[in-house]
């Protein structure tokens, strides 16, 4: 910038009448001369941001529609809120809820562990292992879950006994029905299909880890297992967790299919009760909806904190959690730390307070190093 302006100036002194005279004269004029007196007077006042009236109209329209619907919740007796209250914590519903929770939790844990194993097999150099893993994923991603469940339910008629033994040698056999209870069938069915999806999620996560990390772990001579558990997996988790939790939410809802293998989960209980109490069909559906909402919200909260944990090291400072935000707001409200003289900008204060909370233990790092 300085070079380009200086060069013509220097030239202008030597070749004065070459039409370059406006150049130095403009430079000598004060910049502020381009605005008039009124403009100068307004410099002290804040710039008025653009208004968006259409946004307000659109928001109002949507709100009116929403309120219309909310009104029907109160006026339409068919919602049957007293019945909802009656069923929400009824023992039958709670038993179903417990089964949904148990089946989902067991399947989620099994499918994650199984997913890691299948992903490792799929990533291995061994063509037989990786081929088998590919085949497994292909099979269980192709077959609908309900088919898997019903198939397992009828396994007893396909293989009346199951066991293990040396092919064509001695065998150890037990009746299928003795080993596989209904819950076991349900959990195995859910897991078989979830493992297929989970393994792809884990594989994608492992592939997303920078190759240099594998090399560094190898160069340090870390044993294979430690390379994976200590270096690769923790970094892969960052992309695995959101996708896997998404999968768990799907699993939570897919567990309603257990109804078809005679397991009374939340949905199954509600279905059963509605045939016994036909007048309460709508309230019972509302009860199931409420519980599924509660469960999904709980999963989302867990996800939020697990994601924060896996993000350590990948961002310099984590944003504050909602709790930390509230705490920071309360602290501001109570007046502590607000005695900053000449600080009229409250928003900025709020932001900096939030940042202090956010940086937490990492706040020992000063700005110069970053």
């Amino acid at each position: 910038m300085t070079d380009t302006t200086r060069a013509p100036q220097r030239e202008a002194t030597s070749v004065d009448d070459a039409g370059r005279t406006p150049e130095p004269s403009r430079a000598s004029r004060p910049e502020t001369a381009t605005i008039d007196a009124a403009g100068h007077a307004a410099l002290d006042r804040p710039v008025v941001p653009l208004r968006h009236p259409l946004r307000w109209i659109a928001a109002a329209l949507v709100l009116v529609m929403l309120l219309n619907f909310v009104e029907t919740l109160f006026t339409n007796q068919q919602w049957g809120w007293p019945a909802v209250g009656k069923w929400l914590f009824s023992p039958a519903v709670l038993t179903g809820l417990q089964l949904t929770l148990t089946a989902t939790a067991l399947s989620a844990v099994i499918s994650f562990a199984g997913g890691v194993v299948v992903a490792i097999a799929r990533l291995s150099q061994n063509p037989v292992l990786s081929g088998l893993a590919w085949g497994y994923v292909w099979l269980f991603r192709s077959v609908p879950l309900i088919l898997v469940l019903v198939f397992l339910y009828n396994l007893g008629s396909l293989y009346p006994t199951i066991g293990i033994g040396i092919p064509f040698g001695p065998q150890f056999q037990v009746p299928t029905a003795n080993v596989l209870g209904d819950l076991a069938i349900g959990v195995i069915g859910l897991s078989l299909s979830e493992i297929a999806y989970a393994s792809e999620i884990v594989r994608a996560g492992v592939l997303a880890v920078d190759h240099g990390q594998h090399e560094a772990a190898q160069a340090l001579g870390l044993p294979r297992r430690r390379q994976f558990v200590r270096v690769i997996l923790p970094q892969a988790l960052r992309s695995i967790v959101p996708a896997f939790v998404n999968q768990v939410v799907g699993l939570l809802k897919a567990s309603s299919l257990l109804f078809y293998v005679s397991l009374l989960d939340l949905f199954g209980v509600v279905q059963n009760l509605s045939s016994t109490y036909p007048t309460d069909i709508i309230p019972l559906l509302v009860v199931a909806t409420i519980w599924y909402l509660v469960l999904t919200s709980a999963v989302s909260i867990v996800q939020y904190y697990v994601e924060r944990w896996t993000a350590r090291g990948s961002v310099r400072a984590l944003p504050p959690t909602p709790f930390q935000r509230v705490r920071a707001a309360v602290r501001r409200g109570s007046g502590r730390g607000s005695g900053r003289p000449g600080g009229p900008d409250r928003a900025r204060q709020a932001a900096s307070a939030a940042r202090v909370v956010a940086s937490g233990p990492a706040s020992t790092i000063d700005d110069r190093t970053i």
Binding site: A219, G313, S314, T369
Partner: protein, 257 residues
């Protein structure tokens, strides 16, 4: 003095491209060797072959008299062949060779101290001893107060110094450095070169792939110029850098300077 590192008939190809094409080198214990060469000359591949990160197609590398990654086996036909070792042997051998990467490759989810302590802990050193040793190493590279910091919160120069500390944690007799300053902002190069200079003074055998000619002249005992996977010229820096015999070396040096 015995050779700390010797390379015999090293050949490595990626597909049809021969990257290392018959390299023989002998580097004495305690020496500082700088490997120079245009990009694609095979210098990084050669360096990575030394700790078997890049297995050779032919040839063998010894470090401290021990062949790395392979052992001689006579087959049923009575013909001796170099055969790859089981992985855990190779991993154990690697733990005795430090390696510093161009892009640091620190573990981002671990603190600086955990990064440095990881190798020794994996090798069976007790957690407390490993952490003490790691703290001392961080002190040595001038980052004693940064132990609890994660890599992303450090500057590039600081990260590379942590990486050097990590490479030293297993007390290797040999440290390999692959373009340790190429990914750094110019004003951060000096601090890393300073640490390497200090390392050279302690008698650790160093092999450095770098483009810092001035640094090579100052710190190296031996300069190797590589082109198209072959050693074109080698010798003391005064000879190779100031009086290169080969036109290819001269061309390269005139372009780099």
């Amino acid at each position: 003095m015995s050779a700390a590192i010797s390379i015999h008939g090293a050949v490595k190809a990626f597909g049809d491209t021969v990257v290392v094409d018959g390299v023989d080198l002998s580097l004495p214990s305690g020496s500082v060797t700088v490997v120079l060469g245009p990009s694609g000359s095979g210098k990084s591949t050669l360096l990575r072959a030394i700790n078997h990160l890049e297995p050779l197609d032919r040839g063998v590398v010894t470090v401290g008299g021990e062949t790395i990654g392979v052992r001689l086996r006579t087959g049923r036909d009575g013909v001796p062949r170099w055969k790859e070792l089981p992985e855990r042997h190779i991993l154990r051998q690697r733990s005795r060779i430090g390696f510093v990467f161009q892009h640091f490759n620190l573990f981002p989810h671990l603190t600086a101290l955990e990064n440095v302590a990881e190798g020794p802990i994996a090798a069976g050193v007790s957690r407390a001893v490993a952490r003490d040793r790691a703290a001392a190493l961080l002190e040595r590279v001038g980052l004693g107060d940064r132990g609890d910091t994660r890599p992303r919160q450090l500057s590039g120069g600081q990260q590379q110094r942590v990486a050097i500390a990590r490479a030293l944690a297993l007390e290797p007799s040999v440290v390999l450095l692959d373009e340790p300053t190429s990914a750094l902002d110019p004003e951060l190069v000096g601090e890393v070169l300073g640490v390497i200079r200090g390392l050279a003074d302690t008698g650790t055998t160093l092999v450095i792939v770098t483009h810092e000619i001035a640094f090579a002249r100052e710190v190296a005992d031996h300069v190797v110029f590589l082109d198209h996977g072959r050693v074109v010229e080698q010798g003391p820096p005064a000879q190779v850098l100031d009086h290169p015999q080969h036109t290819r070396t001269r061309d390269f040096l005139s372009r780099v300077r």
